[in-house]
Symmetry: C2
Subunit: 140 residues, 2 copies
DNA sequence: TGCTAATCAACAAGTCGTGCTAACTAACAG
DNA sequence: CTGTTAGTTAGCACGACTTGTTGATTAGCA
């Protein structure tokens, strides 16, 4: 994701207004590796800006997502999560605590076989599930 | 997935009754490579057994899923899909028509790097998105 | 045959996300 | 600085998907 300052510039270019709400969300996402949901982000935002609405958080996230500044990740665990890391990367999920980490996979072009004659792959999503070090430690 | 006959036996073992509805669903899933949703399966089932309820389809699918006889696949495209193929395989999805195919990946143990010290991976899900041969042909 | 699970219909609820309206606020251009 | 207009907010609703509940009926299986 771009820095909050760069995002401000991009929003202005696009004719979007730069409101304090949007700026707050930019800051909350900047460097955020927690893969928050809209709801989670809203809670944090509301601490710093009581009165901000969940609606606005959803909307700003959609805008950022449409602009390609955040990734929209759906792990099938209910809510969609947002990732300011827009590199070509993948995710590991702890099935116990639900924490999500970014991972970079040595993507030796994966070969696949099956009933997929002529299929043109545009993107690949890999999700590793398992147990994180914390949870493994606790349950041991 | 096991054959309908084997499933009948398994259900009996587990103390579940073998009803015509369940048997119908077993048959509809057997060898099914369409990755149907509960709803889709219900529609087909209803043709052969008018009066069957969507509720029953959902329930039977949950049972099968809990028993490990079908895979529960969530591609983030709305409804969950069910796959009677419970091999260790992955999926390709056409982003145009939504068709899903099973694929077997030459899973050279994927190496990943990132903030994942001590993470114990139990399973890996790979989803390839792109355009299927049909859609590529139509749009060309 | 009888116990009990399964099914069904109908309705509800829950989650996640979006649409709409109306009123107020404030960003930005001129 | 002012006016235009986008953005925000509250509130209510809906839509998709899935599960829960209830109460009556059906039917599997011992």
């Amino acid at each position: 994701m771009k820095t909050p300052e760069e995002l401000v510039a991009r929003f202005r270019e696009q004719g979007y207004k730069v409101t304090p709400q949007r700026q707050l969300i930019f800051r909350l996402l900047n460097g955020n590796t927690a893969h928050p949901t809209a709801e989670t982000l809203y809670e944090v935002a509301a601490e710093q800006m009581p009165g901000i609405s969940l609606r606005t958080v959803y909307q700003t996230l959609s805008e950022l997502s449409a602009m390609g500044e955040v990734q929209h990740i759906d792990l099938g665990s209910g809510a969609v999560r947002f990732d300011p890391n827009v590199d070509d990367h993948h995710h590991v999920v702890c099935s116990t605590c639900g924490v999500v980490h970014d991972v970079y996979v040595n993507q030796t072009p994966l070969r696949f076989e099956g009933d997929v004659e002529g299929f043109a792959v545009h993107s690949t999503r890999i999700v590793f599930s398992g147990e994180c070090a914390q949870c493994a430690h606790l349950s041991a």
